[in-house]
Subunit: 443 residues, 4 copies
């Protein structure tokens, strides 16, 4: 009795089932070399330096997001018929939403200011005729590459397909909060996903002047689960994604990339990385060569044999986990920052290090929840969450006390880091500038 | 090889271990008839009408709270020596903190305005020489009954023992949130208890003008877990503890009690209930006869054979789960309430029912978090949570954005309920009074 | 937006969904007084004396079994169309499979030799025109009561419907193992239910000379999960269901029932219990009056005021949890048993107790797995589990090493119990008969 | 308030705590480059080809095993004082038990017949004065390297320290079953670790003629948990560790290694791998350069540019997950094997492939439980599990029906694999040899 479906076992969802016929497209996409590459890109970049269990890749996350997209569509379908073409576009987009990520995930695109975003690379992967992903999509339906690209670019209609894949209440977040909470062991992001899925409905909402068929929460049912979900994400940012040791590893890696751009040109540098270091956009095929494990190996090589002493030293510290000291300067006023950073650079220089590579600053920020004002200010299409309460559509921030207090409030983190050897010199400089000693307390 | 400890398996904590020697007192307390009675009092009163799994008793909850008290004391002991007498008082009090509950838990004490609180009954059980619990405590140490009573009365010193058992961050809440979340299946109250325990320390805090050795959260470690815990409790209130069907069952039960007080005197009425109905306080032994299962059985008897037709009808509806309609009127302004309630009574009367027993109003409220202002206003000792951040003690509400927004804000629920047969008449009355039809939407 | 389904939250399955239209019958059945009565019958009888968390009722178990029946049918439907009438019969039967249970579940039917089994009461409930359950079924389809009765009597065809509800691999076991494991906290019975459901298919199997459409395990997929499931059940029997303290409580309760039959006739005895004590079968309506809580209350009453001293004493021990000593005599050879039991009775009598009520013997047995030989010997229709391996149907015991060793081997437990006060006298009698002292070791 | 301990969050154990003082040695070991290297060696080699979540490394497993060793020692210490030196040796050895693993874990040592085992490399790492691990151990206590090496070599006394780290009931298995079950999502290996830990005691057992202080299970408590644990391991072997896709990836990787030894000498080959290919043992420092990610990168490189066409093709198939077909030939008799393998080679050759690299055979075996006879036959010190029952020590296989049936029975798996392109030719050869077509059914 040959099986009619393919099952993936999964630590988060247990059983992820694809029907061999109905979901053939999805399975073919999974089997492309481009998608398989996600096995080599970790979901949380360098978070394993602080959370050893954070070794999971974007591969399993993408499978999980695609699975959840299917479950949400099944739920929506109970009350409203879903166009099969929308279903295909939604699930393929959920599967592919991270396919454009570079090594160490978000770190890569933020390290090279001129680099394409992972979303842009994702659209390239979907639309470039040379890409195996494009070929699989086009073989299924010549219009499909364009449709998936539209979802990724957020121009697809009906709008709920975009929301399902990328919004403040999407399957991407559903999966990553559950997965990251479980894998790191820091359980802040666990929430009742069954109950949220259960309370999703479709309704017509006026968004930017147009009525769009949108995902809406039935408040009587799901309001508190959504609050729990958004707060869980907030806690994960504060405690995991902003963890100082992870930020320190990120900062050193960026310093490595910067050094490659400025000075060092080791012969082993991959073509795509050399292009990025020059500010160029590499061809897709070259870009796809890059992944976490290739770069971690290169760092090991350079730690031993790079000609440039700074590159060698940075790579040594990174690969032997001799991380810089990270200090949390979020508590200082914005007005003091430039003086603080100058003091940092002076101290690091006094200790004999090049501040360019050794006095590092990281500004991270997350806004737990954005509502319409925020989007208006940013000139972006509105993405707030709508809830249905007593037969009326209202904005989540109108209905939820808990979230109103967090709406549009960016949680900013200012971390600096430098070699432990420079500690006394940095402290002396700060002291000279009149800052309290608590500034030297390790995060 | 005779075992040296007694183990209880537990759905929440898996293994609860008592050392046969060190914890002999606790085991002796568990074996008293008075403590075993807690098996017959459900943790969540009538919540099983909405959450079928909520069949768990206060017995397992009390074991769990005692177990957690031991774990917190072990953790505190890592950094500060704990006086063995404090440990004994703390664990015995955690075990006994609910021993004074009447049938259906909180419902009972709120049904009879003149009834003693469960805390007062608890102190009576601990101090009354005729009580088996008193005898076990006194046999261990003649001073112990007084010490446990002091913990329950919140006068014990050092103060952290009181906090451990009853505060806004106590083992009672730790256990009930985990247990109620698991048993109801509504998982809002799950939180990372390991991490909170882990971040508890002792510090001297000035409380009401006196420096007290207090439980304090190490903010760098546990702030977000505490936020998650307090929000989880908030969500459980909104979604589970305030569930309209449970409130309806509560209201009908109160109407039964009121009817017993006013009119009906069925011969099977237990002595203690008759006393309560008269406004008297029954002797302890009589009080302890009462439990959920005795009353549920009586309700079944009265449903069939009570002479008083109202009592018979109320009991029939309760035991056959033909509950009243519950409407959520929380959205109406306080100014309108008296007129609304008058309309309700008029409608119910017009439908042929006695408003006294059939037009029921329930005002429930919870304050997710109270800080010092709130306590000051209520003239009670301050019970806010203190956190240690950067070596300084600060109030939780100063440090936490999320909780500040909820601090001292009572979440009030106004439910009314009445027989479904009175629906049209109540609607007509409300309409006549000019209220919108949405007032008739079922909660 | 009125909801189109009813959801129960559940500690085991999280979300149990019934469609308001498609599953109206099931919801109507849940709302009958007869089904609601299951809230008052605990799944594990007296197991709470050893496992405090075992307070869950047959109500939640029946909901869970019905939910799993729906899930299995959905799975089977992926490869084979399921006749809607079979689906209705299967889910209704899964919901009702325990509706005939008496107080303390299995204990009741074993306490009165002439009592109807719970299966027979179940069929009565389904077919008796005065029963609310019958009326709901018949209102849906006049043929349905007969069809459900056929499932409960195992004569329904196609046969897989019977298997789904009652076999060695049925939704009853699926649910109770998961639920009992979670509630007791003894996790032996946890197994990968997702994976088993996933590996179920339908195939034609020759059973007792007739080809029947049967539930079959796809071995390549599910063999090990089924082994894990059956072993989990075996472990639960050994560790939980046969726990000596639970058996002791059962034995005392049976002694109470026997005393009611023989001697004591307290005025409060419920009609149905009096009938059972006389060896009569009470009318259905009387039988349905009985439940755990009614009897536990009566035991409390009789502990205080029964005229018969033995009844009073037994009830006192039971309700104050002063259980008898239980000894495990499974290790003695069958040949010695009668002499051992005689010694026990003599010792108990010497200590001044009536052996009829105080020298109690309990023979419990379970066969972890039965295969065809066993069924043949018992003259029952064959119920072994079939697996599909390499396109061939084979018996599970042919394929599984692990289970072959356990097949048809009854695990027997011989417990005796008596009052602790009789200990020395029983020991002396055993000593006089030449039995080793280990016989007196408490189980 | 500076923290006095270091905590790792962990997906399996939640909180793993090391005291900064008492456990300084362990933390120093964790921080060595040699131990950090375990982050780059996956626990389950290539299992991620079938179980995408199996991306976890030996780093987290080693932390988990060390944590469990501490918990078992705490438990044992409740009844018997533990010598602090034994505790140190036990925990350090648990942490280091896998530190000698090569890339892809067990695969590496089985690929090169002359290679040292990972245990031998572990002893080298502990005793080689140039090793950072050795230096940390020796700095703590000059005798410690020798003591840890003795534990790894199983000569340490008291014997329970060896058992704790490596036996049929050790913390290695405890951790890997829980971790692999969780990460793969195949939950067969979950078992009640709390309960097993709880039932461990120390007792004197005669092992090989000498009385040794040994780990023993208190049968009354833990027998069924141990059965569950050993069966869980058995199921994991059958379903996960022997999964055909994983074996196929293993076989191709071994073919790559063989090709490196025989023919191909790509310039990028790491020194240690070249030495292994020659049959030499590389110096420790070279060996430690090797890890999963280095080799996976090399395979990618060779897939594109290796001069040797066979190496290029094998690497291409491996890195693009175009795995060979795997057939399960375990069902054929041992007598037929050589003829079958010859047919396989002939078919592969006929299809134009070199059988040396393309007709691959894998013989895997596991014995679920070994008892004394088995050890006697193998001439190894006895390692069976002892249980204490009724005050007597007995062998587990005497006491457990379930395990007796599995004792000393090797479960053998015979897999063969070859390129899908050779399918028809292999089938034709088998047909010509008279074997049934089922031989061609994919595993």
């Amino acid at each position: 009795m040959p099986s009619t479906y393919k099952i993936f076992r999964d630590p988060v969802h247990n059983v992820i089932t694809f029907d061999l016929k109905r979901d053939k497209l999805l399975l073919d996409l999974v089997n492309t070399a481009t998608f398989q590459r996600l096995r080599n890109i970790r979901q949380l970049g360098f978070s394993w330096v602080a959370y050893p269990g954070a070794e999971h890749s974007r591969f399993t996350h993408a499978l999980g997001a695609c699975h959840l997209a299917g479950r949400v569509l099944d739920q929506l379908g109970k009350s409203t018929p879903i166009d099969p073409a929308d279903r295909v576009a939604a699930q393929a987009s959920a599967l592919l939403h991270d396919v454009g990520h570079g090594p160490f995930s978000h770190l890569y695109e933020s390290a090279f200011p001129s680099a394409l975003s992972h979303e842009a690379w994702g659209i390239e992967i979907v639309t470039n005729p040379a890409s195996d992903v494009h070929q699989v999509l086009a073989a299924h339906d010549p219009a499909l590459p364009g449709r998936v690209a539209a979802v990724l670019a957020k121009t697809y209609r009906p709008y709920f397909v975009v929301q399902l894949v990328s919004s403040q209440l999407d399957v991407d977040r559903f999966d990553y909060l559950l997965r990251d909470s479980q894998m790191t062991g820091a359980q802040y992001g666990l929430f009742d996903v069954e109950w949220i899925i259960n309370s999703l409905v479709l309704a017509n909402v006026e968004i930017d002047g147009v009525r769009e068929r949108s995902l809406v929460i039935d408040a009587g049912r799901g309001l508190h689960s959504v609050e729990q979900h958004l707060l869980g994400r907030h806690f994960m940012y504060r405690q995991v994604y902003f963890h100082p040791a992870c930020r320190a590893a990120d900062m050193i890696t960026k310093a490595v990339f910067k050094r490659l751009a400025a000075v060092a040109h080791p012969p082993e540098i991959p073509t795509a990385l050399a292009a990025a270091a020059r500010g160029d956009t590499p061809p897709l095929a070259d870009y796809l060569e890059l992944d976490d494990f290739l770069l971690l190996n290169l760092f090991k090589t350079w730690a031993k044999s790079a000609e440039d002493a700074v590159l060698r030293d940075l790579c040594r510290r990174l690969t032997q986990r001799k991380l810089f000291w990270a200090l949390d300067w979020s508590g200082f006023g914005a007005a003091d920052r430039e003086r603080l950073f100058a003091g940092l650079r002076a101290g690091v220089a006094r200790a004999g290090f090049d501040p360019e590579s050794y006095a590092l600053v990281d500004l991270a920020a997350d806004t737990p929840y954005r509502d319409v004002m925020s989007f208006a200010m940013r000139g972006k299409p509105s993405e707030e969450i709508w809830v249905m309460t007593d037969g009326q559509l209202r904005r989540l921030s109108e209905v939820s006390d808990v979230l109103r207090s967090l709406s549009n409030r960016a949680v900013a983190q200012v971390y600096v880091c430098f070699p432990p050897e420079a500690r006394d010199d940095v402290a002396a400089e700060l002291h000279a500038l009149g800052f309290p000693d608590t500034g030297m307390k390790r995060a």
